[in-house]
């Protein structure tokens, strides 16, 4: 784990779970798997605090535990999962675009709590949705339940591993930690529950109902303490599935920008059909016959079968190999290539990391540098002189740029000896781009960037703490005054407690914090592309 990753993980834990959890997580990240005893010693915290922190981290899948052969339990932090906290807004937004408000809130609740039983999640979401509805209206559980089922069917959420039922003899002591396991085939099975009910508002507006409400509430809470029908079955968000969705989105938009809208729709349809049949990490989707594709095209697209076949042929012939032809049965079977590899790196469509690298160069070093970089990607190896000639850049400038890129590890020098003794005067020195190394370097920079952004944002908030507190107090006073029906003049007086320049300051602060937050989201997009690329390249045999 690099320092940059460690620092970023620390900041994320601290911002979302507080200092105690951050200390524990940090210690685990730096030292590796530890038992509880040593962890307490390392962190200097109270044992109960460490236990609490571990409970939180395990609840959120950020730490896993393992029973050692000697009987102790070791805890291990999952750094790659901690980094995903940065992506939570993107997961929630995606759920909204696919399944509307119930979907959005279900995913949000599951992310906020780590894992939840279905009954609990549905109840919470129904309550939240009810709050936003007009007076008197409530959200029924069935609508939320059906969205839940759809999320499970499309694998966006999955069941957590369950406690295995080991028959125990009365003599043997119970194991120090439960063994959790789940079968692949059970992961998306929704238990048959009849969840009946409606969402509840937090405050009841009707006086008469109050007495009834309270009685109901107590009964409800009494009911809640009984075991719910799906006790022991917990659900969590399936992050890998969301990542697959992001990749599909990138592929579709790459096709759209390279060809046209219709071809991108064809590819989108093919991807949608293969959503759940493509194993994560597979390089191609399952073969689909053109007949099947034709039947599954969305309703708005009435292109003829022949036209579809032409599009498929075009896509298959494209040197970028988005779509491959795998056979002729059923009018021709086709697959979509879903990994990104240097194999198709001639041109530069969107999902590949090269655009990120090129954009970096463009913005940091200028367009000529970017031109040289593109050239090297295309031609693989070039001598100094050749670079100058092909890029049509004067020698001095070209040299300067090459050295800058060399010092940033974006290009490297490859030696090709002419003679067996490797004499320097008789050796070719070629510039080349090592894509993996460059991608890793850029990823490292991204982690650093986000960490810097977060620290800056926290600094800004800290600097203006006094003013923020004051502003909050004024808001609270205004709210309570309005509730008791104060006059406009009185409200005005209170508002003026915050002076003009102070208001300016608050405005500026808000603008800056928004900008930084938006930047963090932006950098995470690049992180996703680079991580996916590195992961898929390493997986290939």
């Amino acid at each position: 784990m690099t320092q940059a990753e460690l620092r970023l993980c620390s900041l994320l834990l601290q911002e979302h779970f507080g200092d105690i959890v951050e200390k524990v997580g940090n210690s685990l990240l730096r030292t590796g798997p530890r038992p509880l005893r040593l962890l307490v010693g390392d962190t200097g915290l109270l044992p109960d605090q460490v236990k609490k922190a571990l409970c939180v981290l395990i609840q959120h899948n950020l730490v896993r535990y393992e029973v050692q052969p000697r009987g102790s339990v070791e805890y291990e932090a999952r750094s790659e999962r901690i980094l995903r906290i940065l992506r939570y807004p993107r997961y929630i937004y995606t759920a909204k675009t696919l399944y509307g408000d119930p979907g959005e809130l279900l995913v949000e609740e599951l992310l906020l709590h780590g894992h939840l039983p279905m009954s609990c999640a549905v109840a919470r979401v129904a309550d939240r949705l009810t709050e936003t509805m007009e007076d008197g209206k409530t959200m029924d559980y069935t609508e939320v339940s059906s969205t839940f089922v759809r999320l499970a069917d499309t694998h966006f959420i999955q069941r957590c591993p369950i406690v295995s039922e080991i028959p125990q003899s009365t003599n043997a002591p119970p194991p120090p930690a439960p063994a959790l396991a789940i079968d692949e085939k059970d992961m998306y099975v929704v238990p048959r529950l009849s969840l009946v009910g409606k969402g509840k508002r937090r405050h009841s507006c009707n006086e008469e109902e109050e007495g009834e409400h309270k009685a109901k509430r107590q009964k409800q809470e009494g009911g809640r303490s009984e075991t719910p029908p799906d006790d022991g079955i917990y659900w969590q968000v399936n992050l890998e599935r969301f990542h697959q969705h992001f990749r599909d989105q990138a592929l579709v938009s790459a096709v759209a920008s390279r060809m046209d809208q219709t071809s991108s729709e064809v590819v989108r349809t093919m991807l949608r059909m293969s959503e759940v049949t493509t194993a994560s990490g597979a390089s191609h989707t399952q073969p689909l016959s053109s007949n099947e594709i034709f039947r599954s095209l969305p309703a708005g697209y009435n292109i003829g079968k022949q036209v579809l076949d032409q599009y498929l042929a075009l896509l298959a012939d494209d040197p970028l190999e988005f779509v491959g032809k795998s056979g002729d049965s059923g009018g021709g079977t086709y697959t979509v290539k879903v990994t990104w590899g240097p194999g198709a790196s001639w041109a530069l469509p969107i999902p590949f990391p090269h655009p990120s690298l090129i954009l970096l160069l463009l913005h940091r070093f200028g367009s000529r540098c970017a031109r040289i970089f593109r050239l090297l990607l295309r031609k693989k190896h070039l001598e100094q002189k050749q670079v100058e000639d092909f890029a049509m850049i004067p020698a001095k400038e070209a040299k300067d740029m090459l050295y800058r890129m060399l010092s940033e590890n974006l290009v490297s020098l490859q030696e090709i000896p002419k003679t067996p003794d490797h004499a320097p005067s008789r050796t070719f020195y070629l510039y080349t781009v090592n894509v993996m190394a460059a991608a890793r370097m850029l990823l490292h920079r991204c982690y650093k960037s986000v960490a810097n952004l977060m620290e800056r944002r926290q600094h800004e908030m800290q600097e203006n703490k006094r003013l923020l507190d004051k502003s909050q107090r004024v808001e609270a006073i205004l709210a309570s005054m309005q509730a008791t029906g104060a006059e406009v003049a009185q409200l005005h007086e209170v508002e003026e407690m915050i002076t003009g320049p102070e208001r300016q300051q608050l405005e500026t602060l808000k603008r800056n914090v928004n900008k930084i937050d938006a930047s963090e989201n932006q950098v995470d997009e690049t992180i996703f592309v680079l991580e996916s690329f590195i992961e898929s390249t390493m997986k290939r045999p």
Partner: protein, 216 residues
């Protein structure tokens, strides 16, 4: 053979390879050597491109900030327990519950966690403190009353461990009955709004020096 490289480029930085191949011509001045780490805030040669705006970006920004705010309020945001006071004060009874180190504020599924992590679950009721005087309403034996008083005193101080679990659960059972029973009556034990109660502690350690009212 290896001596062939020596003597070349005399009076300039000497390298192991033929620098001409890399493009440094004869007589070109090399940049001075770097003797310190790069500056903390390097000069920005070009301004960064503007952030992509748009509905999606705006919504995700709002989501991010909302998430941050929400997570601070959840029980998973672990705060350190309040430091122990040296003197027990009357106002302690009316303070809103502060975090307690030896208790966890949510109810995890203990079946899924290693046994060594189990600590007491604290039931949060608004406006109530976790330690309160046992009520006369509940009929307890003398012995149990004494035991309960003792354990209540110890509750705030002792670190709970697994061996004490049973005692705690027994207490909790009783607490549960009492709490459900007098939840309504107890919230209004005083006429004063609890949040207004300020015992002046925040003003420093010498607030007690004026304990005696002026004697006329």
């Amino acid at each position: 053979l290896s001596m062939a490289g020596r003597g070349r480029g005399r009076g300039r930085g000497q390298m192991t390879f033929n620098v001409e191949a890399v493009g440094i011509g004869k007589g070109d001045a090399l940049p001075p050597p770097t003797l310190q780490p790069s500056p903390l805030f390097p000069v920005l040669e070009r301004r960064a491109a503007p952030l992509p705006g748009g509905e999606e970006g705006e919504y995700m920004l709002a989501l991010k900030q909302e998430l941050r705010r929400a997570m601070r309020g959840l029980p998973y945001f672990v705060k350190p327990g309040a430091p122990r006071r040296d003197i027990e004060r009357y106002s302690d009874k009316y303070q809103l519950s502060s975090p307690v180190d030896s208790a966890i504020d949510w109810n995890p599924d203990w079946k899924r966690l290693p046994r060594e992590l189990k600590i007491r679950v604290r039931r949060l009721r608004k406006g109530r403190t976790t330690s309160h005087v046992p009520k006369k309403y509940v009929a307890l034996d003398k012995e149990e009353t004494i035991k309960k008083l003792e354990s209540l005193e110890k509750k705030e101080e002792e670190v709970t461990s697994e061996e004490e679990e049973e005692k705690e659960e027994e207490e909790e059972g009783k607490e549960e009955e009492e709490e459900e029973y007098d939840e309504e009556e107890h919230e209004e034990e005083t006429d004063y709004v609890l949040s207004y109660f300020d015992n002046g502690e925040s003003f420093g350690p010498d607030s007690d020096d004026n304990g005696d009212e002026a004697v006329y």
